[in-house]
């Protein structure tokens, strides 16, 4: 398998496939996170937005991923857009739910203090609400990193011409067990890397938090 890895890497196709996959994941993650965070902030702050948005989001969330797949392919075709969309879809919900939760969980006593100290709404968000919601938001980020990969595997096994998922499917056709195992190992390694990124973010952004901050 190691030999296979070297061979593929030497041919340039492995790195190419890896790069394509990472790019898709990153793009989908960025879009999904932006949408999820925006909706989450809206719903977290406004009862009106909650009434308007929350139920629809929860409904879409309840749809199993694979059930939506045919529709996505009909709409977006079998191309980059479809793959990025699927990743974004998977990322949006964990970010959304945890952002709402985080904002709701901010200590009302601290919000009251902010009012006493004369903070404007914007200052209240920046100084109290966002930092207070951050542990929960980062939990969402961590979960979303995992879903992003899951979504990408599903997307890449369908009609892809490149990417790790394509590599795996291609290998299946030719019964290349070594390549299949290699792709699985690569997914595992990337999962570990994603988790490390999440941990790093937690250590940086939650340095104040006794449960997350740098070890004493």
């Amino acid at each position: 398998m190691v030999r296979t890895a070297f061979k593929l890497a030497a041919g340039g196709s492995l790195l190419n496939d890896l790069g394509v996959s990472l790019l898709r994941a990153a793009a989908g993650f960025a879009i999904g996170a932006a949408v999820g965070a925006t909706l989450g902030v809206l719903v977290g702050f406004s009862r009106v937005a909650e009434a308007a948005i929350d139920r629809s989001v929860q409904m879409i969330r309840a749809i199993p991923f694979l059930a939506a797949l045919p529709l996505v392919i009909v709409w977006l075709g079998v191309g980059e857009a479809e793959k990025i969309f699927l990743v974004a879809l998977g990322v949006t919900f964990p970010i959304y739910i945890n952002t709402v939760l985080g904002i709701r969980q901010v200590d009302p006593k601290l919000l009251e203090l902010g009012r006493v100290q004369g903070l404007s709404s914007l200052q209240l968000i920046r100084r109290i609400i966002l930092p207070g919601a951050m542990p929960s938001i980062l939990t969402g980020v961590r979960y979303a990193l995992a879903t992003a990969w899951l979504a990408l595997v599903v997307a890449e096994t369908i009609g892809a011409q490149s990417g790790i998922g394509f590599l795996a499917m291609d290998a299946r056709e030719f019964l290349r067990t070594d390549v299949i195992v290699l792709t699985i190992v690569i997914y595992a390694l990337i999962g570990v890397a994603a988790d490390a990124i999440a941990r790093f973010l937690e250590r940086r952004l939650l340095a104040w938090h006794p449960n997350y901050g740098a070890p004493r």
Partner: protein
């Protein structure tokens, strides 16, 4: 109302009222908590408000702070009174100086915060986190955060209730000093009769949403008050203990 104010020669403020409350009514639904209450606190005057739990003293403080709506009467208070709560309410994600300067609309916020922290004896902990503080230290930071705004009215809602007895005595010293230096009007809500006697120029006892008893001029010792009299007013002594 004849106002007793003890202006000191060094005071930067004119001696005028820090807050005037007239005919204040505060109710939750149909339950009236404060009924036609009148109160006047001068600048530099230290008023302690005693009363049983549920008599409406914290409700009064919150109304003065502008935190709750009122249903009648008038409150003439400075635009932004400073409040110290029973819990320190420090932001755990901000360093001490960032906490103290929260809401401070001034250049050189860090310098101002540093001065305030030095005043409460924590001048060497500017960049420390709140989680590294003891209860007394955290409450000192909360005091610094209140005073850095240079308030005309300082509202203290049982700020020492959660502290141990020794720390509380040290805090009394500190508060006395700080109030003497800054000369805000102070309203201290407390359960502690001895605390009220130790700190206040004037002691009020609240019962059923109204001020039922008043005793003034304490700090200079001219009109000493007996602890027993106050406890009687609070209904502690006359009743059988349960």
């Amino acid at each position: 109302m004849n106002l007793h104010v003890a202006p000191q020669s060094s005071t930067p403020f004119e001696s005028g009222p820090a807050v005037v409350v007239s005919n204040l009514v505060r109710s939750y639904g149909s339950r009236v908590v404060i009924e036609k209450l009148n109160l006047r606190i001068g600048r530099g005057e230290f008023v302690a408000l005693l009363g049983e739990s549920g008599c409406g003293k914290t409700t009064l403080l919150r109304a003065l702070a502008g935190l709750d709506p009122i249903q009648g009467g008038r409150i003439v208070a400075p635009r932004r009174p400073a409040v110290v709560f029973q819990e320190h309410r420090l932001l755990p994600w901000d360093s001490l100086w960032r906490n103290v300067s929260l809401g401070l609309q001034a250049p050189a916020a860090r310098e101002r915060a540093a001065e305030a922290l030095t005043e409460v004896g924590l001048g060497d902990r500017l960049d420390d986190w709140p989680r590294n503080l003891s209860g007394g230290q955290a409450q000192r930071v909360a005091l610094a955060r209140a005073l850095v705004q240079q308030p005309e009215l300082l509202l203290l809602d049982e700020p020492f209730a959660a502290l141990d007895a020794l720390t509380r005595i040290r805090m009394h010293e500190l508060v006395r000093e700080l109030v003497a230096n800054h000369q805000p009007g102070v309203l201290l809500v407390t359960h502690d009769v001895d605390e009220a006697i130790a700190l206040a120029d004037r002691i009020l006892v609240m019962r059923h949403g109204a001020i039922a008893y008043e005793h003034r001029a304490l700090r200079d010792g001219s009109t000493p008050i007996s602890r027993a009299e106050l406890l009687g007013e609070l209904g502690v002594i006359s009743r059988s203990p349960n």
